[in-house]
Each structure stands twice: as C-alpha cells, then as structure tokens.
Symmetry: C2
C-alpha cells in the first residue's frame, strides 16, 4: 500500500469510519483496559491450575490452556482502526467492556459496535 495514512484519513474507504484524535484516545484506553483485564484473568487461572497439578496430564493441560488462550487473545485484540468496531463489539458482547468505556465515540461507531455485539449474541444463542 503506497497511500500515506494522512491521505487515507481524508479519503477513507467506504464503511471504514474515520477515528478522530479524541476517539482514538478513548479507543486505546478501552482496548488496553480490556486486554489488561483479560490477561489478568488468564494469569489467575494459570496460577490456580498450576497449584492443582497432580499428574503429568494436568501439566500438559496447563500448557494446552495457555497456548489456546494466547492464540485467542492474539486474534481478538487487533488494534487496526479497520477492525476496531468488530473488536469492541466482541468485547461488549463478552461483557469485557461496558457502554461507559466507549462513551465519547461517535454514534456511527457505537451503532456498528452494538450491531456486531448483537449479531454475536444471536449467533451464540442459535
């Protein structure tokens, strides 16, 4: 891609909303907080699992758990502006973010985020 990002911001692709400076700050804060909380959960779970290891199968169960969680987290936390409404939609649906964390984002983005969260919830219920 040879287009400089400044130009991209001025002429965004269709359906890719422009993120203002203040929205970027809100997004970064919400994203980092959710990631930090999720990593903290994994750390607590790993400590708990390790403390209960009694046999080799428990040990390799811990390895498997860590590998799966690392892959899931790597995949989920994708901080590209083109992906952020999906990322936040998923975090909203999982209860890892609340609407209050996203307060200050433009209504266009909130609408996309809520819509994707609803879609995921319906997928899960199906």
């Amino acid at each position: 891609m040879t287009t400089p990002s400044a130009t991209q911001d001025s002429y965004p692709y269709q359906n890719e909303p422009v993120w203002s400076k203040s929205e970027k700050a809100i997004a970064r804060k919400a994203f980092d907080a959710a990631l930090k909380r999720e990593l903290h959960e994994v750390i607590q779970e790993a400590k708990q699992m390790a403390s209960q290891i009694k046999q080799p199968s428990d040990l390799w169960g811990l390895e498997h758990y860590l590998t799966q969680r690392r892959k899931e987290i790597d995949h989920k936390y994708d901080y590209r502006y083109s992906q952020l409404t999906h990322v936040f939609g998923k975090l909203l649906q999982e209860g890892r973010l609340g609407e209050e964390d996203l307060s200050g984002l433009g209504e266009d983005k909130l609408k996309s985020i809520r819509s994707f969260a609803k879609f995921l919830a319906e997928m899960e219920a199906a």
Copy 2:
C-alpha cells in the same frame, strides 16, 4: 513392517542386542522411574514459575517452558529396544539414572550405555 516381532527377536538386526525377559523388566523399571522423576521435576518447576507470574511475559514464558520440556521429554523417552541403550546412556550422563538402576543388564548393553554416556559427556565438554 510385516515381520512378526517374535521372528525379529530370534534374528535380530546386527548391533541390536536381544533383550531377555529379565532385562526387559529391569529396563522398564529404570525407564519408568527416570521418566517419573523428570516429570515430577517439571511439575515442581511449573508450579514455582506459575506462583511467580507477575506480568504477561511471565505467563507466556511458562507456556514456552512447558512446550519445550514436553518436546524434549517426548523425544528423550523412546522405549524401543533398538533405542534403549542410547536412552539409558543419556539418562546416565544426565545423572537421572545410576549404574545401580541398570544392574542386571548384560555386559554388552552396559558397555554400549556407558560408551554413549561418555560420548555425550565429551560432546558437552567440547
């Protein structure tokens, strides 16, 4: 391989010693004991590492440690009679088995085991 193992035992490949019933019992016991001790060490180390996790890099460090140890152990503990003198040689060199654990094996096998242990020790010193 279509040759039944009974025939293989009667006509072993050159340099592949035949293991008598009593030698097989000694080998199995020594192998299982070394594996059990090594797995116990990994379990203790994993518990220790987990208890000291403070940040995500420690968490993924634990995952990496477990993956490496699992691969090493899978590779090292190869209970094929064609491989056993190498396996025991390595365990002897690592101090995971003593000569006393192998007592009762034929002199031909002990010689191969000691010779491989010596080779590994020299490799390490080089």
